[in-house]
Amino acid sequence: MRRLCAAALLCAALPLPAAMHVMVVGGLGGEPQFEERFGQWSEQVASGSATAAGSPDRVHRFVGAEARREAIEGRLRQLATQLNADDQFVLVLLGHGSYDGSEYRFNIPGPDLTGSQLLALLDRIPATVSQLVVNATSASGAVLERWQRPHRIVVTATRSGGERVATRFGGYWAEALASGEADRDKDGRVTAQEAYDFAVRRVEDAYKADAAVVTEHARMAGGDAASFVVARLGGEALFAGDRELVALRAQQDEVERRVDALRAQKTQLVEDDYYARLEPVLLEMARLGARIEARLAALGVAGDRP
């Protein structure tokens, strides 16, 4: 059972070591079905991102008439001055994009935002701030290389600017932020890598189910996507603030390193021997899990994760 509300409330009281700020833009749909779709996706992304940001206050959503260039530029400029070193920033663009061979454009009400303009705004954010930019629009592949920076992970819904058909990737990214299935290692955190893998797989499955030619091929580049948390599920958000939980989490980390070490030996061991060695370590982990759950219960939050 998910207790996101309880987690969010407690998170507000227990500040995270570094802040994450999220900006979600739902672009111009052009048709009612796309307007509705982009609005819905942006809402889902905002809601899921709030679990990682720790508070809905750190998530800004621009959709419909609000998603105009001045508003987006203004917020990005503001963030560039407000973000602290070690903070994290996530930008998610949902909607239609286009590429004329030299310039990418994000379609929004009023004048479009070009790839160059968005890049300049993103580059104003200090390099000490880890960034994740998810451009889920059509033709988004055009910006992948240009936007990439050492501190910035860039995800695009398409392989290149030539993939111009409306994409499905954004919807599945939004779904990943609340999905226990996306959280493959069941640690209660959905990383950018997990969300990306989930969305890519869902896109593949969707086109396969429709027996349709695949018109989008997502890409991701830069940074450590496996460590960049984009959503937290269940009581995970509490771990950062409670001393006892922090200590238990540290013990879990230590045990997990032993699991990793054993996994690395898997191919060299007979299968039965491998699992015989693994079981006591996993039991140790399970006992820690039980203690964490007990602590969460004491804090008033059910520890079950989806």
Partner: protein, 753 residues
Amino acid sequence: MKHPSAFVLPLAVMALGLSLSGVAPAQQIDYDPGRADALRRCDDPLLRGRQEQASRCYRALLTRAEPLLRAEAQWALGDFQAANQAFRDAVAAAADDPRPRVRWGRLFLAAGQYQDAMRLFQEALEIAPRDYGARVASASVAAERFSGDVSDSLRELLDEDQGRIEAHLVAARVAIENGRMEEARSSAERALELAQAQRRAPLEAQTLLAAVEVIGHRDPARWTRAALAYNPRYGTLFEELGYFEVIRRRYREAEGWYARAVEVQPDLWSAHRERGLNLLRLGEVDGARASLTRAYSGDRFSTATVNTLRLLDSFDQYEFIDSRDPPLRLQLHRKEAAALRPYVAQLARQSIATFAQRYGYTPTEPVTIELYPEHDDFGVRTAGLPGIGLLGVTFGHVVAMDSPSGRQSGDFHWGSTLWHEMAHVFTLSATQHRVPRWLSEGLSMFEEWRTGPTPGVSVGPDLVEAFIADKLLPVARLDEGFLRPAYENQVQISYMQAGLVCLFAEQRWGFAKLVEFLHAFREDITTADAVRRVFAVEPEAFDAEFQAFMKQRFAPYIAQPKRWLEQMRAALTARDEKNWAAARTAARAGIELLPEFTAGGNAYQTLATAEEGAGNKAAAIEALRAWRKAGGWDPQGLRKLAQLLVEAGNQSEAAEVLDAVNYVDPLAPAGHAELGELLLATNRPADALREYQVLLALAPLDTAGANYGLARAARATGDAAAARRHLLQALETAPRFRPAQKLLLEMTGEESP
């Protein structure tokens, strides 16, 4: 054989895509009285099997000035490219003469390029609308492609000139294909008399007369001896006999004729090809490969040969899974074998048990079921060519069909298709392949409705409209609707009609009589005689009763034919406008008018949407239940019903509904996880185990979740060792996976459940 409901394509032959290059296809006999004497002098040794003499004769014509002569000589000598060019020259040189066009078209026809051939025949007819050669050639193409009834064209040609051999030959062939054997014999005998009188080769007439004997279970030796006496190397005789066996689905008998064809004429590459394709129908892959390789050695340009050899090369990407009791062989592509196997095997076994009990017959050979993820591979498997408009085909004990991955999700119900094809296995085998096409298809449809995974007589308005327009055929002629459709969707209509005829017979005389009717075809008997013998009524009386049955069954629709469409449109419009009350009223009216319509846009699902929109979920469930009972199977509709049932707390029925989705859309990972949970919750661990195994086979992202499900299912079935291993595998991937941790602690006794 099963067609998709959405579209129709010609059954027998599609565009070959064979370019005009390479080895010449076999030349048919040109009976045209206008054929030049110089050519006829060369034809004679050729048609008597004296190849060397004929070649010398034709070579001598290559220096002649007339391009048409050169073209014919080059064709006969096998220089296809040169013949093609020479025909082009002949056409250019005689702008007002239809004959070069007709002969050039014949070249294309022999190559199987029907569209090109027809274009040239059409050009000839534009020059000379009454040209006999062009008209008989056009009729020949129509007959060969099974495209409509050519009787009128032939009658007109024969009325005009009773002395033309080819018109009689085409008439004989069409009559054989339609089962009118006395008419066939008469036409072939007339063709033979004319050939002898005009001193033309009697071979084709003798071949057709031999075919009449074979089909009548008489010794054809009189005609085969006569033909071989005329031409000892005339392998085409036996190739043709093989063809007539194939179209009657007697593949074992066809093999005997093809073997003789290549024995008599070892360089008859088309016979090697047909033998190879036929051996595949018998499931004899190695023999098929050998024959096709031989065909390829002499004719590298046959699309069917090349396609099929390529397909055989791809067989190493398939798993061949043999099982006993009943003997069964599954051929599934490696990429999906693990996911499909449980469902295919289960349904195949269930169908064998069901049909064996219902029809009192057990297959004498193992049944092979082949599923092709690429529709074009299935097409090649079936006809040597891609692009066929079928879903499945049965060759006796071999069933080949599209895999669910070969089509859009929800595009076809693979489970029903398999059920349909498995019914053919029984109806064909039980009658030694003598069952008429219409009855075999009718019983397959009937079994889909009665015992298949989608019970319910699901038919659309097209069928009722055809009935109203008096387009349904009498039972004695129902085969024609399959073999030579006369209007656009007649094949589909004939499937439905055949199924309804069986349904009517069952309701009128009981199922036992229907089985007796099938078994009547163990002997050579016409449909009309079988009706008389088994149902003790004249075919006309049978038809009259069937008409009454149809009128009664579809009375609401027939009474107001336009109203159904009006109500359906109104329901959809109201639904889109979220006017739930209006949508409900119109949808209910649509259901009352034609409850059998369950396909896309049906009134049941519209009604369910309206009821749910109005907040009445119980009524929405009832609407979807009724839809399913009537034969509805769209996976989205089934998933919706399952969701509503779960919300209503009916997990057991929800599990049953989601299980049904596996026979439409088994390759979507999400459904298996959900079904696995429901099956565990409803104490069906063995089925849950299957679902999680399939889920894992589909390489889900969430392997930890799948292994955790497997662990719980295995534990519930009492397999503690497997449960523990899957649990460790789940935690190996996700060490912090709390539910799995809890189960581990529970299994080691450290934590209470």
